[in-house]
Structures are given as structure tokens and as C-alpha cells.
Symmetry: C2
Subunit: 232 residues, 2 copies
């Protein structure tokens, strides 16, 4: 009652469509149940019942159960960006910046490790719009890549001129690798994923530094050519 119910702005388009509250209600309920019971054991009927709506109503807002996950991704991405801010403000060296951002990503996801693992498969399906490589995910993906662009741009590291434009996407790819490991990581608190980050970052740091060496120029170019070829 205290909330405004679907006001219409002076402009033609409604600021918040009527169903926005219902949408959020369903989404919040779904996330809660996913966390409580896991993805597979949370039924659409249960989500609808707990949210106090009909099953079909959930499908009015979300095309499928999988689409609820896409919302989860979007939320996580925003959280990741926020969690990374202090690191970006504080650090100026490339290594610590990268490590901080990677750790921030894992930090954000940690509470969801249990159920994130169970629906990870959906994201891995190439034909799925949920794939991180898909057209439909291009917005959150680009946001993530931009985050790594900030890691590079704000650092004092000197990067090979040819490597520089490719680097953010490569770092994002490395992040996807970290996530892949994290999903499979059954160590307590996913401690091994932390070790992976702390072990891999110095290597990446060194690799980036080495790419400028005259001797390694041909190799650098060879790698970059390959990557450019393989990109769609």
C-alpha cells in the first residue's frame, strides 16, 4: 500500500509496468528456494505457490526455468562490479588489481556455490541462450569484459601494443576458467580456487610483461593471430 502502484511517467512509456512487483516477487522467491533446496529440487510449482501466484504467471515473466538463472547472472555481474570497486580504487599494480577482481568475483558467487554448480550445465550448453558465449548474454558478458578492461587501463603495467586491445577479453576468458574450476571445486570454502587465483595471477602478470620482449615478439604475434582467427 505504501508503494506506488505502476505509475505512468509524463513520457509515453511506463516507468514501472504494472507487473514489476509480481516479477520481483517471483524472482526473489525463486532465488530463495534455489538457495534453500538447490536448483533441480526447486519446482516451478513450488516457486509459484510460495510466491502466491499461478504457475503460468511465472512463465508470463520468465520464458523458462532457465531464464531465472539468467537473472541470477545479471544480478551477480552487478554485485561483482560493486565488489571490485574498492580494489580498483586502491590498487595500481596489474597483478593485485587482477587478483582482487578475480577474488571479488568468487566472493560474490560463494554463497551460491551449492546451487550454482547444479545449474552450471545449462550455461555450458552451446545452443542455450544462457551460454556465456551466446548472443543473448552479450550484455552481461560485455559488462564483465569491461571490468577487466578497467583492470588493465587503471594499472601501471606496460602492455604490448598489439596485446593491449585483446587483453581484457583474454582476462575474461581466464576468469571463465576460474569459474569452471570453482564450480567443480569441492574443497572446503572452495579454498583451492583461491589458490588457483593466487598461483595463476603472477604467471599471467609475468606473461604480460614478457610479451613486450623483442625476442618473444614473434610468439606474441603468433598467439594473437591465432586468437583473432578463432574469434567469431
Amino acid at each position: 500500500m505504501t508503494e506506488q502502484t505502476a505509475p505512468t511517467t509524463a513520457a509515453g512509456e511506463p516507468a514501472t509496468p504494472r507487473g514489476e512487483q509480481t516479477r520481483q516477487l517471483i524472482l526473489d522467491t525463486a532465488m530463495r528456494l534455489f538457495r534453500e533446496r538447490g536448483y533441480a529440487r526447486t519446482t516451478m510449482r513450488a516457486i509459484a505457490q510460495e510466491a502466491g501466484v499461478a504457475v503460468g504467471n511465472a512463465y508470463y515473466y520468465f520464458g523458462s526455468k532457465d531464464h531465472l538463472i539468467q537473472e541470477f547472472y545479471a544480478r551477480s555481474q552487478v554485485e561483482h562490479r560493486a565488489a571490485a570497486q574498492p580494489v580498483l580504487d586502491r590498487e595500481s599494480d596489474f597483478g593485485p588489481r587482477l587478483a582482487g577482481v578475480l577474488h571479488a568475483g568468487v566472493d560474490v558467487l560463494t554463497p551460491s556455490h551449492g546451487f550454482a554448480a547444479s545449474f552450471f550445465k545449462t550455461a555450458a550448453e552451446p545452443t542455450s541462450p544462457l551460454s556465456p558465449f551466446s548472443e543473448e548474454s552479450s550484455a552481461p558478458r560485455q559488462a564483465a569484459i569491461d571490468l577487466f578492461a578497467e583492470v588493465v587501463a587503471g594499472s601501471t603495467a606496460k602492455v604490448d601494443a598489439e596485446l593491449r586491445p585483446q587483453l581484457p577479453e583474454l582476462l575474461w576468458l581466464a576468469y571463465m576458467g576460474v569459474i569452471l574450476y570453482w564450480v567443480h571445486d569441492r574443497s572446503p570454502g572452495q579454498a583451492k580456487t583461491r589458490q588457483l587465483i593466487d598461483g595463476a595471477v603472477p604467471l599471467i602478470d609475468r606473461l604480460v610483461a614478457l610479451s613486450r620482449l623483442r625476442v618473444l615478439r614473434p610468439v606474441t604475434r603468433q598467439v594473437l593471430d591465432l586468437i583473432r582467427t578463432l574469434r567469431h
Copy 2:
């Protein structure tokens, strides 16, 4: 009628249990339908009907629809091994051996690209027994790793002593990466995956050679330590 029906060997255990024919029939039917219609659009009812058995009978032999895929993996692995044999016989240099084996793997999978992509997600799920990292897949995984061990063992390449025992598994991991790319590869005939192999193999070759250099010893060790730590 011309076939032997469930003979019993002199030893206690039956060479072919009675249901083996039914099992193979269901499996062959399933593979045919997967190829014809894709994984998702092939129903268990359709498999059973085409094979001329009841639905429940399929579940007597295969715990789930996903388990049919596991059989597909096992078959593919055997085919891969066979397809790699000529390369292993012919080549003695590390690079060509590795490239040949990787290409052989893709060769074997190519006819199934359409439906392999659609069920790839099941393999990616960490909790699934179908995951290439899972306990249940350890037999076919080990067979695959052994194949890469042959790539190394039979080659004239000199490999760093510390790297050598880890190398087969690392190459298998690289192969998994190739498969991951292949699954997402929509270029005609998956030509880009071929480019990936041809581009990556020289790099791997060079990296392996470099690992013996005294200057790079610390880095090599650092990488290997990290890998050992991360392995479960």
C-alpha cells in the same frame, strides 16, 4: 537364429549375459535416433518403440537417458584410439604426433557434431557422473590420458624431467579445451577447430621445449607446483 543365444563359458561367469542383445539393440537404436533427430527431440518412448521394447526395459539397461551418452563416450574413445594408431605408427616428432591425435579425435566426433553439442551440457555438470572429471568417467578418462602418454613416450622430444609425468594429463586437458571449442564451433565443417589445433600445437611444442631451459626452470617449477596443488 543364426546367432548364439547367451552361451555360457566354461568358467563361471557368462560371456554374454542373456540381455546383451537387447542392450545393444536399444543402444544402436538410440544412437541412430540421436543422429537423426538430435538428443533433446529423441524421447525414451521413441527409442523403446523403435527398438520394439517397453520403456522400462531401456531403463533396465541404462539408468537414465544420460547414461546412453556415457556409452557414446566410451565408443568414441575406442574409435579415437583406433583412428590415432596410424599417426602413432607413422610420426616420431612430438608436434605432428600431437596434432595427428587431436585431429583424429575431432575426426571421430565430427559426424555427431549436431547432437553432441546438444547434450554437451550434461557432461559439463559437475555433479553428473558424465562429467569428464567425475569418478564414474575415470576409466575412459584414463584411457584418453594414456593415449596422450603414448604421444609423449613415442616421440623423440626431450621433455623436462619434472614436466614429463604431468604432461599426458596436461595434453588431455588441452584436448578437453579443443572439444569445448569444437562444441561451440559453428564454422562450416568445424574448420576453425582445425585451425585451433594447427595453431596451438606449435605453441605447445615450443613451450614443452622451452621448459628445459635453465632460465625458465623456476617458472616451470612454479607452474607444476600449482598444478599439483590444484589436482584433487
